[in-house]
Symmetry: C2
Subunit: 145 residues, 2 copies
């Protein structure tokens, strides 16, 4: 059993993809994060980072303030998020996506996820991204669930 | 729309739950992490932390070494994980689970997840954990997917 047997298609966004579109991909496909193709290689956009753009700073600092914000305002935040690009949502501290090739073993994939604390490993063959292995797929395989 | 409308049952483990059992819960229910009831309140066990126990340190430091480890060894690691408790898998840096009550608004939940970078918020009513709201459920609601 190698990475090639566990790899699945995985959506890739660019730095210019609107965050709202990225959030829709996360929600519809139930993903732990998105792969971002940037100027310096592949990074990961965790779902919680996309939220950071949608929530005004003063509310993020004091979530209880939101208790008095009504639903109409929630929609306003989302509209404000509108066309802002993924570039603005990436964590300040750049988080590299672990990458390996299709011959990686199950133990190698587990070690990569454990070391980088990433629930996602990108699989690259001859310089081409062919998909990703998720923690979910790996656990299913390791535990036979 | 309040937290009470988005909350769902969520599995809770204790510090003494075997990690293998916790990993099975993660895999079977496709969860971003588990809620751990500890001595000092609720914490979160991210899926990647459970893996850290299953992978020997020398392989975690050099995943390429695993290329020469065959499948039989992968099963050995899992067996070694066996009955080790969740207590041993928790990150050294304790990660508090964000907690709120059933009246929290959608914006408040988003702010909590954004601030703590947790894809999970525990919902507590009168001191009792009644479940959790996931990033997935929140995005589905915010985006109407």
């Amino acid at each position: 059993m190698r990475a090639r047997d566990l790899v699945a298609d995985y959506p890739v966004v660019t730095l210019d993809t609107p965050v709202l579109e990225a959030a829709r991909l996360l929600a519809e496909q139930d993903l732990p994060g998105l792969i971002v193709r940037g100027d310096e290689g592949l990074t990961i956009l965790p779902g919680t980072e996309a939220l950071r753009l949608a929530v005004p700073r003063y509310i993020m600092d004091d979530p209880a303030l939101a208790r008095v914000v009504d639903e109409a305002h929630a929609d306003k935040f989302l509209r404000a998020l509108g066309g802002r690009p993924v570039r603005e949502a990436l964590p300040g501290e750049r988080r590299d996506l672990p990458v390996t090739d299709p011959d990686a073993t199950v133990v190698e994939l587990a070690a990569l996820m454990a070391r980088t604390r990433s629930p996602l490993v990108a699989i690259v063959e001859s310089g081409e991204l062919i998909g990703a292995v998720t923690l979910q797929a790996l656990l299913d395989r390791m535990l036979g669930t």
